[in-house]
Symmetry: C2
Subunit: 458 residues, 2 copies
């Protein structure tokens, strides 16, 4: 599969350079947006008709989850690989859905976007395809849910923003970690003022994917490994970043100002390639590549003087962590390296009994409503189902989505911006304001279910 032939964006290296170039060409915030998608409520849909593009790791799981939600109709599924299509089709038939199937051709996905009987395109393909597919779908009148990261260059981020504003179609990035239980709990507590004013947050994606990246079957045609030797920086920033941006009301009351990014060398990936190549000459093609540094640390400052420390390491033998630290003038929360803890002073973290009390007292309405059901159905412990349910429920009730196109663009932009900082000896880089100044008056997201919440989970 030659990705670049589909996107028409040229080789990855070239698109990287484009992203650098385009930062200075970006619209400045003195231009007001053509249409502000933050808080935008699209006309309500009684039934949400969905087309799925990409039926690999993330896609098949979504296909298995989403029929549990009331009011969805899956009308099309698409993948290059016939076996993936068959597997998804079989699962959907069991769930009473009868989608048309698209397979094989490099342009088949466009047919899904062009159908008249679809409201939402759900994109779970390799990273380089996210923006081209999302833009095409919106331009054909479809709302979009797109896997993380939504974009791989700053230029792509602006393409998403401008297309969503022009078409008035939602472009929601599927940042599922915003719907994990401790993240929802801390957001709810932050909203209720328990941490006081937030001073500093941390997020991360520390997840050892070394074996998966070098697997012949896990990521089709080694697409993720290739990203790791053609690009640099924090390639996967959104899981740690999304939840803390919501706590900090980024794009909605505060905005990122500038960032600095630093990577060390690669100590893991080339060694892995060399080790595999000893037993299997196939792997010689991956020896001596210019791999991304194993550990990246990016620090972001906001207009209101808060900071975010964000890390990325997908190769070192470390226990999984997204850190999820929220530090405020009255208290602190931290999820990793051990189960979520909260403190309201400098002496110690709340013990198990106090934590249970806090969790009970501050259970977010969305968790109270479908948390148990979500845990039963699953998807990263339940958060994926909560995310899908919330999205469908908002579309069915004509409510704004929690994550709009500005979030998709900004959270994804950390990748190319971190790359730009690295290219200049970690000097600071201004973060584009994708809301073009609207962050000052945009209102924070509503997870309180003060509206909506009517959709059933089956």
């Amino acid at each position: 599969m030659k990705l670049t032939s589909i996107t028409g964006l040229g080789v990855v290296g070239a698109s990287m350079l484009e992203s650098f170039k385009n930062i200075s060409d970006s619209p400045v915030e003195t231009n007001s947006p053509r249409f502000n998608m933050s808080g935008y409520a699209a006309p309500r849909l009684k039934t949400v008709r969905i087309g799925f593009i990409g039926l690999g790791n993330r896609g098949i799981r979504a296909v298995n989850r989403i029929p549990h939600i009331e009011g969805v109709e899956i009308n099309a599924i698409c993948d290059l690989r016939s076996d993936k299509v068959d597997a998804a089709n079989k699962a959907l038939e069991k769930a009473g859905q009868k989608p048309d199937t698209y397979r094989g051709g490099m342009e088949e996905w466009k047919k899904v976007c062009e159908r008249k009987d679809i409201d939402l395109i759900y994109i779970t393909t390799p990273w380089e395809l996210h923006t081209p597919m999302a833009v095409y779908a919106m331009n054909h009148g479809k709302h979009v849910c797109v896997e993380v990261p939504a974009a791989t260059t700053v230029d792509e981020c602006w393409q998403l923003v401008e297309t969503s504003e022009k078409t008035k179609k939602h472009c929601m990035m599927l940042e599922n970690c915003c719907y994990d239980f401790f993240e929802l709990l801390t957001l709810n507590m932050a909203r209720q003022g328990l941490f006081g004013e937030i001073i500093h947050c941390e997020g991360a994606y520390l997840h050892d994917l070394l074996d998966q990246n070098f697997s012949k079957s896990y990521y089709a045609d080694f697409w993720r490994l290739k990203e790791n030797y053609t690009r640099k920086g924090n390639l996967y920033p959104t899981h740690g970043l999304g939840p803390v941006c919501q706590v900090l009301n980024i794009n909605r009351g505060d905005q990122m100002d500038y960032l600095v990014s630093m990577s060390g060398n690669d100590f893991m990936m080339n060694e892995k390639a060399k080790s595999l190549a000893k037993a299997d000459p196939f792997y010689n093609q991956f020896v001596g590549k210019s791999y991304n540094g194993n550990m990246n640390t990016t620090t972001i400052r906001t207009k209101k003087g808060k900071t975010i420390m964000l890390q990325h390491d997908v190769t070192s033998p470390r226990p999984y962590s997204r850190i999820h630290l929220v530090s405020g003038t009255k208290g602190t929360a931290q999820k990793f390296p051990l189960p979520g803890k909260i403190s309201f002073g400098h002496d110690e973290w709340a013990g198990a009994e106090d934590m249970a009390k806090l969790e009970k007292q501050f259970t977010p309405p969305i968790v109270a409503k479908i948390g148990e059901m979500a845990k039963r159905i699953g998807g990263h412990g339940g958060m994926d189902l909560i995310m899908d349910w919330r999205t469908i429920d908002c579309l069915r009730n004509g409510l704004p989505l929690d994550q709009d196109v500005y979030d998709a663009a900004l959270w994804s932009a950390i990748w190319p911006l971190s790359e730009k900082s690295l290219a200049s000896r970690s000097n600071s880089v201004d973060v584009p304001d994708f809301t073009r100044g609207a962050w000052r008056s945009n209102t924070p997201i509503d997870l309180s279910l003060s509206k909506g919440g009517t959709t059933k989970v089956i």
Copy 2:
């Protein structure tokens, strides 16, 4: 007490500017050192004769600890405040020591340095006095132990280096955290290769000192609070940094290359001043000051492509943390936010039973020798006594000290260097090589007690 009148270095703001200026004027590494103090063993001393300068918070504790070590003679103690001198003298008399006392005058400390019957000056005074006192002591033929940070500007760092090289006197910064139990354990394990090649480390000083900083008695004449509104950046970098620099063999096989630093705003200190001033107009003098940002994150890259993430927050209501993360190609260790954990894979941290086994198997020789005794005598749980014992034992056996003047200079320099980065929108700043290239051949420190360890603890 007007500190600047003693040091003759001018107002703090001016010395800050000096430090900026002096970075570019610094000796470059193509000049070999006049004398390489790394690994230098001074002539052995059967008895180590000590003079103490500064008998406040840290001083009185040292005075209480050190007589437990064989072969020391405390010949002089000095403080501006007569009550502090009396208290220290009383404690020393009980311990069978008969020091001469110096008090009151602003130049009394110089008399201690000028005595012929002293080998080691132990300096525990406010930060601004550390370098002037250490330099004066070395110039009068004395070894020096000096509290952290050893210097407050890059110029002072070079003063320490040049004076130590010229006089061949040890200048050891009292970085006690290098001698804490988990730090010693991870250093020992790192040396034995258990973490593989180290990729990334983290350290921090997250310690809520808000009440102490605004106390009328805790820090004499609010000296530490004043540092927090006349200076910026990571004002206190060494506790988190020292132990990971030893793990990374910084100054001894690797060297820092450049750093970036970012702070948020102050959300705590001015609010505290305003709140105190409501009840006590005395505090009006501290309202509206330009306080250092509460949270500082500094990231450092080494010549060999490793990274260090270092944080400083002395005001937020967070549980104490120095993080102490060591991440390598084979394993990971992390001490905070919960008790020290080790992992050799990506699945999970070792449980209590496995941790106990690891601690037993890899107990460092220094801990096996005096760990239990140190815990009994105390000082931050024992680490202070281990540090003092090791220092005295090296001096008595004619061995190099674990922390030399290059460590004192480099670890302290992070403060002014972080300040410089902050002043240029967090752009990167080159770190001076205080070893002037000798880091390439300097050998790692020896905590194995393959030599020394003969001094008794009483």
